[in-house]
Amino acid sequence: MKFYEYRAKEVFQRYGIPVPKGLLVVSSEEVVSPPLPAAVKAQVLVGGRMKAGGIAFAESLKEARRATSRILGMEIGGYGVKKVLLEERLEIERELYLSMTLDRSARTALLMASPDGGIDIEQVPGERIFRSPIPPLVGIQPYILRGLKEAMGLPKELGRSLSAIAEALYRLFKGEDAELVEINPLVVTRGGGLVAGDAKLILEDNALYRHPEYQGMEQDLTVLEREANQKGIAFIELGGNIGVIANGAGLTMATMDALHVHGGRPGVFLDLGGTDDPETVKEAFLLMMKARPRVILLNIFGGITKCDTVALGVQEASEVAGAEIPIIVRIRGVNEERAREILREAGMTAVLDMGEAAKAAVQQAGE
């Protein structure tokens, strides 16, 4: 779950990470006594806000209102801007980068920092990035903070503030079940302090049950993605015109790979999870119909449920949805032949081989 900047900064404050004074508004009328001079920032979850013109600077109330009003009318990355954050503009001496994330290979949390903040970390050369795994079970240690301070080359007093912020970042990472928490830039102000200029926070979805306070928090999701979310189905809208449903993430991706090999383009990725439960298949089918693909390709490798039972579920679902588009089904498992019969009788294309199914789907989608 991604956090808007202003929400991430609320969390930062709780953990003692300094943030600029700010005012959140949903309309320019609310801009009455903003901090001045101000940075006026669109609150969106997608990247590239700066490039899209979603950040402006204002010296006066009038300018602040005008910028707010302009930004509230924008669309960035396909999403309308609904909230604007007005912050005191920082006097920037230097910009650092600081983040805590997961190192999957090392199976540890990973502290990353760079003296070259303010730009995308991927554009910073490797030797300018300080990386330190956090020892699992025992957590962040003073030697790591010493290394961090050394690498950032700050004067003593600021080094101490940096240590405190890094420790807070780690506590936040653990305490909020984050998968990424990033401060970029971490601003060294002319006044000699450290302030989080921006704030990026992503919580791990699997741990959201431990954080009821964030339930219902706004996310940039399409209507269908939201619906899939609620049903616990992995549903991703892509660029193509073939709706892919399969059971299991690997199998769904492999089905997309097969389409690709045959020159097709998936329009929706829909993973049922490991299940072949007919009820879930039906639900998924109905959801897929709403995405209006040109063809649906259903690929089930049955483990638990008998294939004919799954086939009956598919038949029922296509009837309920009144599907008038071609449906290609590839189903393997116990009673697979009976299943194919059922599906063919219901007017679908039922095949045995995954490649064949992909080819059929690509053909139909192209017609």
């Binding site: 997961l102 999957r104 290979s105 199976r107 540890t108 949390a109 970390i121 991927e122 699992p136 079970l137 653990k174 079940d177 998968e179 791990e204 979805d205 699997n206 741990a207 049950y209 431990r210 992995a234 991703i236 892509l238 399969a246 059971n247 299991g248 993430a249 690997g250 199998l251 769904t252 991706m253 492999a254 997309m256 790979d257 097969a258 389409l259 690709h260 090999v261 998936p266 990725f269 993973d271 999870g273 490991g274 490798f301 049955g302 483990g303 638990i304 393997r332 498992g333 116990v334 081989d353 995954m354 490649g355």
Partner: protein
């Protein structure tokens, strides 16, 4: 000798009284797995398909000499139950459970290493040594005893591939689903080491997917250490960046974790790479 799981493995089912627990206990018993005990706190004294249920793993170890856990405990209780199992002396912990927060998984796999317990998963179908024992939720009938080792991040895709291998006339020594999460107890490199050392495994099939760099590390390891021939497939060649493709671990982020990079690494290491799962049996027989 198979990998990690043998006829003699004594299995405790953690979470045996749940719907999944009952169902898969039956399926494993039918397969021939030696299930000696089940655990569900507060349900001591019950039986599930004839298997005695205890309140604690320690009792399952004491009374049933359990050494392997078939772990089906729901995610919110997983860390507690996993540490209980490790402390009770379980040697092989097969975490089937999906959606365990990775902060918990980190603690579990670190603590297990501290105590010398092997963890497979989480979010995996389990492990099977065909004809010997099955500790997992995979359909047993598609497997056949033989000499191909299978290591996979996937569930049903593994069944798909195993089925194709079996239909081509080959059997499997051990099939290990290592799990689709970002943090897993046994990664490709560690699994490869086990299969390389296994006398029953003559060829290895590795099923990867987008996300992370485990496949790149596996390729590097294969080049340096693995003499057993390997066939690989990497799912997600068309996956867009920044989207989680079903598995928690299947995400291309910050330019890392693309199928392209993984496939290139395998090819560079001299590994045969299948473009689609269906090509695997052919590549296997050409080794």
């Amino acid at each position: 000798m198979a990998v990690l799981l043998e006829e003699g493995s004594n299995v405790v089912v953690q979470g045996i009284t749940g719907h999944q627990g009952r169902f898969h206990t039956k399926a494993c018993l039918d397969y021939g797995t030696r299930i000696v005990a089940g655990v569900t706190p507060g349900r001591e004294g019950e039986k599930v398909h004839g298997v005695p249920v205890y309140d604690t793993v320690a009792e399952a170890v004491e009374n049933g000499e359990a050494d392997t856990s078939f772990f089906l405990v729901p995610a919110p209780f997983a860390k507690d139950a996993a540490i209980e199992a490790i402390e009770a002396g379980i040697r092989l912990l097969v975490l089937i459970t999906e959606r365990i927060p990775f902060h918990d998984a980190l603690d579990i796999v670190s603590y297990a290493r501290f105590r010398g317990t092997r963890v497979i998963g989480p979010n995996c179908p389990g492990i099977i040594s065909p004809g010997k024992s099955k500790v997992g939720i995979m359909p047993g009938h598609i497997f056949r005893r033989g000499r191909v080792g299978v290591i996979s991040r996937s569930g049903t895709l593994t069944y798909e591939i195993v089925n194709a291998i079996t239909e081509s006339g080959e059997g499997q020594s051990t099939c290990m689903g290592i799990g689709g999460d970002a943090i897993i107890g046994t990664n490709f490199v560690e699994a490869l080491r086990l299969f390389q050392e296994d006398s029953e495994t003559e060829r290895i099939v590795l099923v990867g997917e987008i996300g992370g760099t485990a496949e790149e590390e596996a390729a590097d390891y294969i080049e340096r250490e693995v003499t057993t021939p390997v066939v690989a497939y990497v799912a997600g060649q068309t996956a867009p960046p920044g989207r989680r493709m079903g598995h928690a671990g299947a995400i291309i982020s910050r330019g890392r974790g693309t199928a392209k990079s993984k496939i290139a690494a395998f090819k560079e290491a001299g590994v045969s790479v299948a473009a689609l799962p269906s090509e695997i049996p052919t590549l296997l027989s050409s080794l």
